[in-house]
């Protein structure tokens, strides 16, 4: 039986988070707005209108190109892509064809098994979005609110070799886009759209066979599932002597199946030509240097650095570089803590992430600052407070904005580590519960936890757990 290799290329459309559209001053984001309210003569394609390029689109596009190791052209051109569709008011889309902003590029994708998949980029260009249509009762309803929203189209080489890799690519891309601050990259909201080109070939072959195109996948999971199903279909087809045809497939997310869309008998001829209403985009070296200077340390680079410099496990490094705010927070906390970074990592992964989740905020919005976290950890390290108190203290700092030390003093949270004081509490507890003491001594060892709880309650949580355990054990093991 032949072993088949999957060959996947992904075409993504990324909605940039600029304030305005690419060629007019309407808002870029109108997700919640009633239909046809966020329009103007330009984006509605009225007769006589002209496009005017948004400089923030160029800057963000260039940043992405730099982050994808793409060479960005100092002179690039816009072109018209001509076709009829009701959501395309001008009857052409202003895009970039052969002399786009970005030239080449790649993303090195770390896979869970430790390997790296080098994914080449063939296209990186700016273009305008079309509007939206919905189908109802045999008619189409068209909304132009989204016309002219700035997009970057990025197309990979057919370098991905599995549905998982495709999913990984999208995960990393989403992370990168948010990291750079150029897109919210939320697939469910259409900020990041993906079409997958899929073909198969016998393992060892280097030929590129006919591919099918999967459209309308609205989540990373859907991309993965759809690709798996399509590969299954292609393998079955080929194994039974059939031939894969260049179909366009529509993913139905409700029924989890692919249906063939109208096949194009002839390749659409878009009659690309240079957009005469725009001058060639000319950027100078100084501008290019400016963009490169703005390029932050990228998530995968930082991840690698965390693994190396902080000696963190991959699991931790992934979580701590999931987004820029948490990653910056971690580094600041490590610097303030001046101890084992793994300790800080644990506190963040356990306590801080939960806090962020509960409050629906990001790490840069916390009142609890990194240096304050470090201070709390140090207090626990030195035994000033116990672990449980430490965790509660974090919440208190976040709620009140007061410093940890202030709160500890004000509420008298310092740990009870005085031998004599603890011993006296323990004696009190044992004296108050003679039956339980008898049960414990007759073999019910599970009651130990209950006794610990009683001591904690008496000391309002301040008992030093290690010391308490030791003293309590001694006390309970004594035979009168």
């Amino acid at each position: 039986m032949t072993e088949y290799e999957t060959v996947i290329g992904l075409e993504t459309h990324i909605q940039l988070n600029t304030e305005t559209k690419i060629f007019c001053a309407c808002k870029a984001d109108s997700w919640e707005d009633p239909p046809n309210t966020n329009i103007c003569p330009v984006c509605a394609g009225l007769p006589g209108v002209l496009p005017v390029l948004n400089e923030a689109v160029v800057r963000k596009g260039a940043l992405l190109a730099a982050a994808m190791h793409s060479e960005f052209r100092l002179k690039s051109f816009f072109d018209r892509k001509n076709y009829f569709y009701p959501d395309l008011p001008k009857g052409y889309q202003i895009s970039q064809y052969d002399m786009a902003l970005g030239n080449g590029g790649y993303l090195d994708l770390p896979m869970p098994d430790g390997s790296i998949r080098h994914v080449g980029i063939t296209k990186l260009h700016m273009e305008e979005d079309a509007g939206k249509t919905k189908y109802e009762n045999g008619r189409r309803y068209v909304d132009f609110n989204r016309c002219g929203v700035p997009l970057v189209e990025m197309v990979t080489e057919p370098d991905l070799r599995s549905a998982d890799e495709a999913a990984q690519y999208l995960i990393r891309l989403r992370q990168l886009l948010r990291w750079l601050g150029i897109s919210e990259a939320d697939m469910e909201k259409g900020h990041l759209r993906c079409d997958a080109n899929v073909s198969i070939r016998p393992v060892g072959s280097t030929v590129l066979n006919t591919k099918t195109e999967i459209k309308n996948v609205n989540s990373i999971e859907a991309v993965r599932t759809a690709i798996i199903k399509e590969v299954e279909r292609q393998v079955e087809l080929v194994e039974s002597g059939g031939r894969v045809e260049a179909w366009t497939l529509d993913w139905d997310d409700t029924h989890h199946r692919l249906t063939k869309m109208r096949s194009k008998e002839t390749e659409a001829d878009y009659r690309y030509f240079r957009e005469p209403d725009l001058l060639p985009l000319e950027l100078d070296e100084a501008w290019r240097e400016g963009v490169l200077a703005d390029l932050p340390e990228l998530p995968l680079e930082r991840r690698a650095r965390f693994l190396q410099d902080y000696d963190l496990p991959e699991y931790d490094a992934d979580i701590l570089t999931a987004d820029r705010p948490i990653s910056d927070y971690f580094e600041a906390a490590v610097a303030a803590y001046a101890g084992d970074p793994k300790v800080v990592s644990n506190w963040i992964m356990n306590e801080i992430l939960r806090m962020l989740n509960e409050q629906g905020i990001s790490a840069d919005q916390l009142l609890l600052k990194p240096d304050q976290l470090a201070a709390v950890i140090r207090m626990v390290d030195s035994g000033t407070i116990n672990n449980a108190t430490g965790k509660a203290l974090l919440s208190k700092v976040q709620q009140t904005g007061k410093s940890p030390l202030e709160i500890v003093d004000a509420e008298g949270l310092a740990q009870l580590s005085d031998d004599a004081a603890l011993q006296s509490v323990i004696d009190q507890v044992l004296a108050a519960h003679p039956d339980e003491v008898m049960s414990f001594r007759s073999g019910k060892e599970g009651l130990f936890g209950w006794f610990m709880g009683q001591v904690m309650r008496e000391t309002r949580g301040k008992a030093d757990p290690q010391l308490t355990k030791q003293l309590l054990l001694d006390a309970l093991s004594k035979r009168d």
Binding site: P47, L50, V52, G91, R271, F273, L279
Partner: protein, 528 residues
Amino acid sequence: MSALDYAAHTIAQKVNAGELSAVEVLEDALARIEQVEGRHGALDYGELTDEDRKKVHAFITLTQDRAYAQARQVDALVSAGKLAGPLAGVPLSIKDIFCVKDTPSTAASRILSNFVAPYTATAVERLESAGALTLGKVNLDEFTHGSSTESSAFQPSTRNPWDPDRVPGGSSGGSAASVAAGEVMLSLGTDTAGSIRQPAAFCGVVGLKPTYGRVSRYGLIAFGSSLDCPGSVARDVRDAALMLGVMAGADPRDSTASLHPVPDYLAILSEGVKGLRIGLSPDYMQIAFPDPQTGALIRQELPAEIRNATLRAAEALADQGAEIVEGVPMPNMVYGIPAYFVVSRVEAASNLHRFDGVKYGYRTSSEFRDLHEMYRKTRAEGFGLQPKLRILMGMYVSAAQYSEQYYQRALRVRSMIRADFESAFDSGGAYRLDALLTPTTPTTAFKIADIYGDSVLMQYADQLTVPANHAGIPGISIPAGLDGDGLPIGIQLLAPDFGEEMLLRVGYAFEQATADAAWRKQKPQVLR
């Protein structure tokens, strides 16, 4: 005496000085329109009457209310001791290819016959802010596709005020005719292959095509986006200069509007032509038409009267101290029309994609099963013959498999046409011209229905004007006499990029030198 017999600059002066009220001027304009206009162009025009055949029919829509409101505002400002603008009270017509808010903006096409623009073109905004009175939208070839105004869906199409059996030229026929007939003093036209200059020549008025990018195209319903230029149609050179000064300059709504500073065009007007080098080119002193069978170019002599008018103009300028430089080669100008057939059509086909019955304008009222059928019927019914030709040709020459052979080649020929001008104007070159003098058109105004139907012959009416559009340089047509049939002859001056000052200066000198010429005393037939 009608106020309409004054030049625009005189009217503005008098109105600002309180000697004349804008409302008075407006009423004179309306009276003149009443006298010469006949019925306006309309979609359902029925039969042409004998009366129709004697009238001008420059307008599609008269915007009387708008003009009255403007006139009252001008008068109010003047009464309050304020200046009402450099065009205060000047009657103005707008080629109906410009969007003007709350007016029907039709492009002389059925497909936009019911379109009321929600915004105003920049050029119009500026003219209106300068105090001009917008009398209305004037007729043109449909989507500016033509050289005679005959292709308009709004009939009767405009007739030449000098001989109403003849065309006024096109595509800005309504503009040129409305100025020539004294219905307005100024008209805003557009020039893509000669569409201001050619009708100006046919109608005996001044037509100025500025440098590409000199005047904003925002609001101009596009034909050839890299060729279209809004420009002035006026009675004399000073008026054309005045109008240009108001409209010209950068516009944040047009990415192709140059930031090149706008000079005071009136300041240099009377500087004269002493020492200026004005060229004559043998390539512009003959005409060419393609053989209908083979397409090979057959060269012919210019009609004698046009040739002589041009040479006499050279003499007049020489008398004023200009140096006439003969024999300037412009070998690539003869490819102007073939290149134009390609470049303009590619842009037009794309620009007209948006007319599909979805968001504005005409939608077919016949039955349709689906979207594609709606598109087809709407476009087939909404567009006239000329847009259809341009769209189809545009599709062909930009198709993937033909694009290199046609479109890309044409764009390179365009560079060659431009290079001819660069050599001629090069201050370190062999000719070092300040301006080039040529005839504007290969013939004077032809008879209505004579040429329409032969799309090649019609396009070749622009052979002397189109090279300037390819090159982007400015050009002006000024009246230089009348032919044996009493029809106006125009001469053309061409200058380097942003050389409008030069054109106006030389044109003004010629005007002054011929101020007393007998032909200047003749009036168009409709005004006799």
